[in-house]
Subunit: 418 residues, 2 copies
């Protein structure tokens, strides 16, 4: 242990090596519940690629595991420490090195906050779509490690779609450069994509070339109330089948709607069984929303309210973005899951979740990136109630969620971050 | 050898095992020039996954190399036989198994012709964007193996963007299922992308789940003449910098334009140094083209002609799509290359190619998917002229093209198919 710290200090400034257990303990885990976390031996905060290489070389020489971390806002436990490990926090490597409007790329260090990058490119008329809920805190490196998505996915896809090239420090300290900074490039095996979503298990991302889009027109949001999740899901199918490409298509079930009202006085309709939000960032969003409103009505919506302007739209999205903390407030603790199904089978998934909640006497709210079939069944429970905790965390509750194997050719298809 | 054929026949019908050298010789190579090809020992034409598994098991047992093939329209030599190999042609596995408009996916076998799939999904209001020049002949399996692009890439990306999941037979005959059939799915390492572009080197793709887009509105094309490639490339930079997203943005140099006129009487402007074609498939393509026309004029275009309708647009694209055969007709043989550069450095690339052509006394036409910086420098030469052949194929001519290492973090960034 003394060896480890001494060797690390040979290539890192004193303030970049944290050993006080009270301090290092704060780096033990991300925001995943129900994931084990150990006590790190040391936390390092490098500022350069060379310092990261030094850490990896040292770790390999002494056979000490390395756990890379960004902002620790992840929900998959990917950033959780193991006992005696080196936590390698990339948050000090937070520079945007280049934004190029002609080539539509940004070159960044891994510790850049998602929102900081989004705002920086916006100033140049560009758009970096991936927008996980934690976008004001999470880092691009963490987004790459967990292949983050967000509300934008239905139109713009996940983080992977925006990673053109990577600089990666391998376990032995070598620097690997993958990919490209050209718009197109298909030579060789796609190592870039192999690193995206690998949760730091293959190497430490120390730099990235990201693709950007031109900034879209301002979006407009519509909210539609449905008497059942089935009818809301029917609306989603009709919208997609008709060839619409909303910039977001989100679903909140009754539990989620009530939780948000309880927390934030958002004035969402209490009596609705399912609330659908759709947005368009097209040249004429009002006309696209009108077409979607018709499809919602045909599917049985009891009320359809298009926002009149950006302010109204933002208010609706604010309610949507409050869902997870609001569900947390219901009983104090939540266990959030992240399950994708074909959008044509969304209703089965959500109704099935309600059946499970009833069977186990649990409160499970479901909020979904419905446009791409990505649901977040969120079990709300009181950690002080041992029986409820047991039912919430019981393998049979969870195994049900994992049983949606028809969703994918592979047996399980959970998205590790949203 | 006898063993090999006998064992293959144990799991394949007689007509699926070809051994006549006059027949198997026709399967020796794809359309790449300057790539070595050997003589296959046998060609097999399986119709089922089980038959492919049988071929792989047999090959592994006898240590015989397997070369998978689609339509052999590739330009990278990926499908070239090695001496004594088994050529495994997937062209008989050509069924479209499913087209789902709600989930926007197609499930296909690898031998489906790109155009057949494109037309089948179009009938359901859907769109499969990847459109390599060979789209009327090439197979989806070949597109996956070579990570094909096409004219659509500037807006819609390459084949990789549309592959959600794969069924792959590994060398030892095991069947691996990767990926998903959901819109989103980021669990685990991205093995799907590892197989895309791997040219059959990691396994045999026997099935694919492909993502589809809603069919876009009919596109409208504009042609602009420029007095220099530099001014045409300046226009491209202005178009991209202003946030336009054309559905294609193609550049033909003077050599290409004249070759097309010589072959097809297409009436392209003979005196122009560079011809730019832009298209939009937006709700109001005429207005987008008008904005682009202004940018072309500002960059020095001497003439800008927007097509008035789909028929005129198709005629322009027909000229563009004729370029490669037209360049082949110039001197009988071509050596086509495939190089990506950042679009901001396209002018350097094209002017540099002209300088090389002058230095070596060669005719090199350049046609480019200019919107994503993907150029096809095409050396035209007379195979009956030994000195010209030598200059065309000389390492110094080619090494120049490979020297654009600034184009990518990795030393070389050529696209293996377009």
């Amino acid at each position: 242990m003394t060896d480890l710290i001494e060797l690390l200090r040979e290539g890192l400034p004193a303030e970049a090596v944290l050993t006080d257990p009270d301090v290092t303990g704060a780096y033990a885990h991300d925001m995943a519940s129900f994931c084990e976390a150990g006590a790190p031996a040391v936390v390092v905060l490098p500022r350069t690629v060379e310092q990261v290489q030094h850490v990896c070389r040292t770790a390999t020489a002494l056979r000490v595991p390395v756990v890379p971390q960004g902002a620790r806002t992840g929900l998959s436990g990917a950033a959780n420490a193991s006992d005696g490990c080196i936590v390698l926090s990339l948050v000090k490597m937070d520079r945007v090195l280049e934004i190029n409007p002609v080539d539509r790329i940004a070159v960044v260090e891994p510790g850049v906050i998602n929102a900081a990058l989004s705002r920086a490119v916006m100033e140049k008329g560009l758009y970096y779509p991936p927008d996980p809920s934690s976008w004001e805190q999470c880092t691009i490196g963490g987004n790459i490690g967990t292949a983050s998505g967000g509300l934008c996915c239905v139109k713009y896809g996940v983080t992977a779609e925006y990673v053109l090239g990577l600089d990666v420090v391998l376990a032995d300290g070598r620097l690997l450069k993958t990919g490209r900074r050209t718009a197109k490039g298909v030579a060789g095996y796609d190592l870039t994509r192999l690193f995206v979503g690998s949760e730091g298990s293959l190497g430490i991302v120390v730099g990235a070339v990201l693709a950007l889009k031109p900034a879209p027109p301002e979006h407009l949001v519509l909210a539609a109330e449905f008497p059942s999740t089935a009818s809301a899901c029917d609306a989603i199918c009709r919208i997609m089948e008709r060839g619409h490409t909303p910039s977001l298509l989100e679903l909140m079930d009754r539990t989620s709607v009530r939780a948000v009202n309880a927390m934030g006085n958002m004035g969402l309709p209490e009596s609705t069984e399912a609330l659908l939000m759709a947005a368009f960032d097209t040249p004429d969003p009002a006309s696209d929303l009108a077409a979607v409103a018709e499809l919602c009505t045909a599917a049985g919506a009891t009320e359809v309210v298009p926002a009149e302007d950006a302010a109204e739209s933002d208010l609706l999205l604010q309610a949507r973005r409050m869902t997870l903390p609001a569900l947390e407030a219901v009983k104090g603790v939540t266990m959030i899951d992240d399950v994708c199904v074909p959008r044509s089978r969304l209703a089965e998934m959500i109704d099935g979740t309600a059946a499970i909640a009833a069977k186990y006497g649990l409160t499970i709210g479901v909020v979904a990136h419905a446009g791409d079939g990505n649901t977040h069944p969120t079990v709300c429970f009181d950690a002080g109630d041992p029986d409820e905790s047991r039912r919430a965390g019981s393998p049979s509750t969870r195994s049900w969620l994992w049983a949606w194997s028809w969703a994918a050719p592979s047996p399980v298809n959970t998205a590790s971050a949203s």
